[in-house]
Subunit: 433 residues, 2 copies
């Protein structure tokens, strides 16, 4: 279904296996994790309880026939949803499908104005808009500000606005209590599931299910991969091997982890990975409190587009990158027609399938990387469906947790963001820094 | 109009000025550049001839009332157009405006299928689609393959398909001659203007003008910035100072250049910068043929979105980044309404303008960077209009050329991409590597 290969990471097999083996204690902790553990997110793919609650909420809100869903959330609260939506429904979903979906994340008034107008257009025609406000803490500045603006638009058009609001948040957060007071629908995020690990909780499942994504397939793929990734047989555990490759590359001084997708519609999946890796491994202190300033910068490329942008640097610049190619089977078959007069422009294209041309490019790139001794791992998705996307996300989450354990850092916290948030609160209160 | 500040790059003023001064010989070459020079792109902002030709082509094609424009091109052939379109018209332009615009770049059949269906929908209703195929060499694999597929769709619906095709390419390229044979409209790219420096040629101007972008303002902004950036007074020349900051950071071992935009609609502008910097500075050999494997990895962040993704790493991880914040004035004013009950969630938001909240976040981030001694430069765009966007692009182009001269590499070529293209041709021809 989805396979990861390590034969071009330019690390001796023995070394790779011996590093991967060091993941065993963490693998045991993961296998025994409950919702009372920071590793809680590994419980989600198997959790039927959450699925049933979310499915009931979806059924209820589907009856309102929303024509537009606005997801109000930022970072871990919307990146997973965007990733799965784009991978499975495409980035141009809104052009010709209903319900449309828009995301309000940062406080950019120009971007939010587009959403406000989109809502007004639907509401004025007497049709429905559903707001899903998502904030784990319930206190995210951007989310609260945006939600207030959009809730106001909804209230302006509908007296029973609260029926069209679903709040997804931690139990007992400030938003939770506001939702109770206002009679919004409520969905709970398990307390110890962090934002960047929350896609398989109500955070991702509710909006994705409402858009028609097959949640059971998504979770089945994740559960299938969970089993492989929690295996103590680290010689074949893809998450442990990938974590070992990342760790060894970092020890050798590489500080860029390039996620390179040969599919346009997986770019948002890359952005979800980016947060996961950046926040989980970028740390000032290790577990013992020693200052380490460790981390690897994740970058996202889309093939073949970014070969025309980053390829020159990747193949000729500093040897500072570990690349992770992700190749997915395409849903559509499109063939180049037979126009012999075009053969002068590029030979060997006539009557070829586009997917095969893409494969030739991907194979060409991998051959060039190998010849230049630029290290890469490669994950293949047999199909670009909910099952494989769910599996890939689960792989990346466990891989990142294991890399954290090898680096001896806490992959579940993000204390560094407090630095700018503290300063921001000062500016918001009108005090100078 | 647009100002760049260097007071937080953590480089002594004297050092910065002395490095910037070393740009003077290259500045003189740039000031004297003609179309017979690899520096040809600096001629574009002042070139009325090209503008007139493009305006005439736009007038002609507007008479066909295209409802959809498809730009077929990749890398330097479409990144500049996408950047300006998103910055000035917004990323959701297609939802409610005409002509819509779609970009066919890589050979992803799933992505191209959306474009095929979009074209068919318009054509079946008897309305018009215009294809702008853009390839400097006229031999770009992806572009030729995609164009053949889309041209075939057009021909299926219109006998006079050639009237709806505009080819933008080098004079005498294979595409040029095919266009003459087929009677497509033709627009020329000056031979020595490379793809990543071509946005102010017909490559960018034609599709942007057709979409309604004010080309004269775009070029006026670029011309205004050109004057500042070619000044030999390097103490106040923003391009020379920025190049010096990039160069000095690289000498100190920083290998990531983070372009951080506090505006959602500037993300594509970041992707344009990414190609410009990666291809221009990522080199295997220097000008003397010595192997150097030099380069800096450009990354693109959007504030405040990516503070919730990359912020933890940026403020706590390795000190391997030079950050370039770009702050733009917003077009719209949106205020948080007065809902006192929300004050419990986040204080000090009630009745605040969203733009002011964004500014508080940006100020908070900069304060945190300063306290953590993380170096950054900052460019402010007074308004997010054609003039300022044109100026910013010109700044980035000259800055990159100057950084190349400091690094003693050729910022105009990209020999490394031949490595994977050679391998790809082998796979396309059915031979194994």
């Amino acid at each position: 279904m989805i396979v990861t290969k390590f034969d071009s990471v330019f690390i001796a097999k023995k070394t790779l296996h011996s590093i991967a083996k060091r993941c065993v204690p963490e693998l045991k902790r993961l296998a025994n994790a409950t919702y009372q553990d920071v590793r809680a997110s590994v419980c989600l793919p198997l959790d039927r309880g959450i699925l049933h609650v979310v499915e009931a909420a979806i059924d209820l809100k589907k009856k309102l026939h929303p024509e537009l869903i606005v997801v109000v959330g930022i970072g871990g609260s919307n990146l997973g949803t965007m990733a799965v939506q784009e991978a499975l429904l495409g980035r141009w979903w809104n052009l010709h499908h209903v319900p449309k979906v828009l995301y309000a994340d940062t406080v950019d008034p120009d971007a939010l104005q587009v959403i406000v107008e989109g809502m007004q257009r639907v509401l004025r025609q007497g049709r429905q808009v559903l707001l899903n406000v998502v904030s784990k803490s319930g206190e995210t500045t951007e989310t609260v500000a945006n939600f207030e603006v959009l809730y106001n638009v909804l209230r302006h058009h509908r007296k029973d606005a609260e029926r069209y609001v679903v709040a997804t948040t931690d139990k007992d957060s400030a938003l939770w209590h506001l939702a109770l007071q206002k009679d919004f629908s409520l969905l709970e995020i398990p307390k110890l599931v962090g934002g960047r690990y929350s896609v398989f909780s109500a955070v991702g499942l509710f909006p994705l299910g409402l858009l028609g994504v097959d949640l059971r397939q998504l979770l089945a793929g994740a559960a299938w991969m969970r089993e492989q990734c929690l295996s103590s047989n680290t010689k074949i555990n893809p998450a442990a091997l990938a974590a070992a490759a990342v760790y060894d590359s970092m020890q050798k001084g590489m500080n860029v982890y390039d996620l390179f997708f040969f599919s346009e519609e997986l770019e948002s999946l890359g952005k979800w990975c980016r947060q996961l890796i950046a926040e989980s491994l970028g740390k000032e202190f290790d577990l013992r409190g020693k200052r380490v300033n460790v981390g690897i910068t994740p970058t996202v490329c889309v093939g073949s587009t970014d070969l025309h942008s980053m390829g020159q640097l990747d193949l000729s610049g500093p040897r500072d990158k570990l690349t992770h190619f992700v190749v997915a089977h395409f849903d559509h078959q499109l063939k180049v027609p037979l126009y012999p007069e075009f053969d002068r422009l590029v030979p060997n294209l006539q009557k070829k399938e586009l997917g095969k041309i893409m494969r030739a490019i991907a194979d060409g790139v991998k051959a060039a990387y190998r010849k230049s001794k630029r290290p890469f791992l490669e994950t293949r998705l047999a199909t670009k469906d909910a099952y494989c996307v769910g599996a890939f996300m689960q792989l990346m989450m466990v891989q990142t947790i294991l890399a954290g354990s090898l680096l001896r850092v806490n992959p579940f916290d993000q204390p560094g963001v407090e630095k700018y948030k503290r300063e921001t609160r000062r500016f918001l209160a009108g005090r100078k820094a």
